[in-house]
Assembly symmetry: C2
Homo-oligomer: 458 residues x 2
């Protein structure tokens, strides 16, 4: 029954080193979340299909993994769809559950379902995997973790200020200096669309503007024209294309551009408030930048929009993002709950830390000492010492078989175990341990206390 | 589009307190795993169906959650099965992936797939959720975590010794005193079957014997008779039913009973070796007990069999189990790799700790201090102090809105936040903070350093 084993495309096995590195990132993010007052929740890996379907657009619906009903799932199959072989219609009748597509919709469902137990404003974080039937490519997987922090039940702008500090705290703790936290505001985008007479084309307009970095000014203008935005309107955009300089000077320019739009002015006020607070509080290593072309998830966000760019020395898409949404829980019948949140892109952060060599050397909690096994009597004597070492928090093990010494030493070498202990009859009789430093090659005979102390301080 | 939100049966949401308690158990187990030299791996949530199907028996196959293929899954549907509405045959043609059913088969798949990168003996641990379409009931869920540690590539009995110590270490660290680690050996069971002339009825025999605790001696004998085991054979079992006393005295009795079975004698030697080593090494709080009726997963285990019983004061099934298997990777074409492993039952351990009140009070990392928000100027001043507190690892937050003071104080009370800080104009001018202890009700005006120090030492 031999099979060549493999795993589904877009999924990954993680070896001990990779798990340790991922946990280093998770733990850093988690610690920061907690000092900022966020508390963890977890939701099931699969939700009822109707909780998820229709929440991410048609494309999202297609990318959601559906779970086949258990037992004779055909018994309840939609007859008409079955006869017509209409897979789209058939699905709902043979599949009632689906894998989580993101953490935001399950969070909204959680808030509504548990609203009577929750004390608002509610600051929650959630670090769990999500699944998408996307075409796998470099850095894009079918199973990946999201790390989200959100506050619901308050529309205070201090939350936006806090989230910018949170980004700065996490990336500084990861020693990832030079990230740029880009900020924009949905109201600015609406204001611009209003000013150029394209309020009805807000999405086309922002989709085009979002491409400025990639395709340049001329192409953006062409696309806008093609989408039916007037030449006159586009000419009014000119100042936007050349917007640069400090946050403050951009704010001043925007005040000119948007002076006829109430919504635009509100967006400017919000950005101004946030920027002034951040200037007062200071950031450790990140920079805050106003980017009026930033539009991510426009249909979703209603206020601030965030995106974090890796240091310029690394080619990588955004490593984080988020924003304010004013009616997330509305989809589950709970109105007027404003929320704001951010997310960290674990896989991309991993790639950036790897590329820049920023993982600490100690991240991989390797075994610190291997006891060579010379036979049962020696093994038992060794295990007594190993027990003491473990009680001191030292990762220690006995080679399980009394194999040839060379084989055992090779094992220690291949696993980069820094210390080896050799216990023979002589050591047992004198109640000592021959401790070998595998890096320096030095070997000394020591009592148990010295053994523990030496390994502990190494 | 309002919906009453709910989650699929057999799944759970975890609130912050539950997540914190679960993480306390996970972290305790993880720390012990690591001091014992185990290293973490992670595998994908779903595997190719043919990796899982056929590995857990027919019942297992039915309980595996299958994932519907993406896109037009009917295009590749088995025509004959579709026409005949044969759901069993149809499944394989419309579903290529399935959710992990346990951690053992994915581990075997991992070892075979990565055999060239692995240095054997390989000690790995894995803490991940698994999914089973079981009928949900108290303590049984459709999504639950397994915590497994296994060694592959060595048949040394020192591993069994180590695993018993590992169980003792974990339960002692959890302050769960009085657990019983039951041990048996598949070779003992085979030996007994041989001696009573029922080698061909090994499974029937052990299934019946396994029920001794529940249905008593007479019913067990009746069941054996019904399964075709001879009266004479059953009479030879008599000493087994009365087997009691210390590990050593049971071993002596078994030597009499099994003196004609080579395999039985081998099983006795193994148990004797393990017991003597454990006696020498000592256990902190657990007891090791020989239980010849223990048979769990017989088809699977080939040597030692473990099961951990909660303290007698708690009614609960086993809270851990494991054993040695000699050909796990054989199902994927890699022969002669002996393995031994144990598992911890997270959900049941949780229930036991809850019932006995063993979760530490500090397990829930609550917010330690809430700053009352009296307006933007005060909020900004507060955030400067909050930043300092967080850098000291203190979980601190600002109430986001300048709501009525009573509302804010209520919020602190409801969330059991132990300290509240009030910053008004006077405090800003004097650069101090009014620190209120929510338990004692005491309030004092202090400079920042005192604020930090007071909260830190609380």
């Amino acid at each position: 029954m031999a099979q060549k084993p493999s795993i589904p495309k877009g999924t990954r096995d993680f070896n001990p080193e990779q798990v340790a590195k991922r946990n280093y990132i998770f733990n850093t993010i988690r610690a920061a979340f907690e000092t900022f007052g966020f508390q963890p929740i977890e939701t099931p890996s699969f939700e009822n299909s109707d909780t998820l379907m229709g929440k991410y657009g048609d494309e999202g619906d297609r990318l959601i993994f559906k779970i086949l009903n258990s037992g004779d799932y055909l018994a309840k199959a939609n007859k008409e769809a079955y006869e017509k072989r209409d897979f789209n219609k058939l699905t709902a009748s043979i599949s009632e559950k689906a894998l989580r597509y993101d953490l935001t919709v399950p969070f909204a469902r959680y808030v509504v379902q548990h609203q009577n137990e929750i004390e608002f404003p509610f600051k929650r974080y959630q670090i769990q995997p999500v699944w998408r039937a996307d075409r796998p490519q470099k850095g894009r997987f079918r199973e990946f973790y999201q790390c989200d922090a959100d506050v619901v039940g308050s529309d205070s702008l201090w939350q936006e200020v806090e989230f910018i500090q949170l980004y700065d705290t996490v990336f500084s703790a990861l020693k990832l200096e030079g990230v740029t936290i880009k900020i924009n505001n949905r109201k600015i985008l609406s204001g611009i669309a209003e000013v150029i007479g394209a309020s009805d084309k807000l999405i086309d307009f922002t989709v085009a503007l979002d491409k400025l970095d990639k395709i340049g000014e001329e192409k953006v203008k062409e696309e806008m024209l093609a989408k039916g935005i007037s030449e006159e309107g586009i000419s009014k955009l000119q100042p936007l294309f050349t917007l640069s300089g400090s946050f403050e000077s951009q704010i001043e320019s925007l005040k000119d551009i948007l002076n006829t739009s109430e919504e635009g002015k509100k967006g400017i006020d919000e950005l101004d408030f946030i920027n002034k607070a951040i200037t007062e509080l200071g950031l450790k290593t990140a920079a805050l930048q106003l980017d009026v072309t930033l539009a991510r998830g426009l249909n979703y966000y209603t206020g601030a929009i965030f995106e974090v760019a890796a240091p310029k020395s690394v080619k990588m898409g955004s490593i984080g993002g988020g924003g304010r949404y004013d009616d997330l829980t509305g989809i589950f019948g709970m109105k007027n709950v404003s929320g704001v949140g951010i997310s960290f892109g674990l896989d991309r952060i991993y790639l950036v830390l790897e590329e820049l060599g920023l993982f600490p050397e100690t991240v991989n909690k390797n075994v610190e000492v291997l006891f060579i096994n010379f036979g049962d009597k020696e093994a038992l004597f060794s295990l007594k010492a190993i027990k003491q070492l473990r009680q001191q928090g030292i990762n220690a093990e006995l080679y399980p078989d009394s194999a040839k010494m060379k084989k055992q030493m090779n094992h220690a070498n291949k696993r980069n175990i820094p210390f080896v202990v050799l216990v023979g009859e002589e050591e047992i009789n004198s109640n000592t341990y021959a401790l070998k430093n595998m890096v320096s090659g030095e070997q000394e005979k020591v009592p148990l206390e010295t053994l523990v102390a030496t390994i502990k301080k190494s």
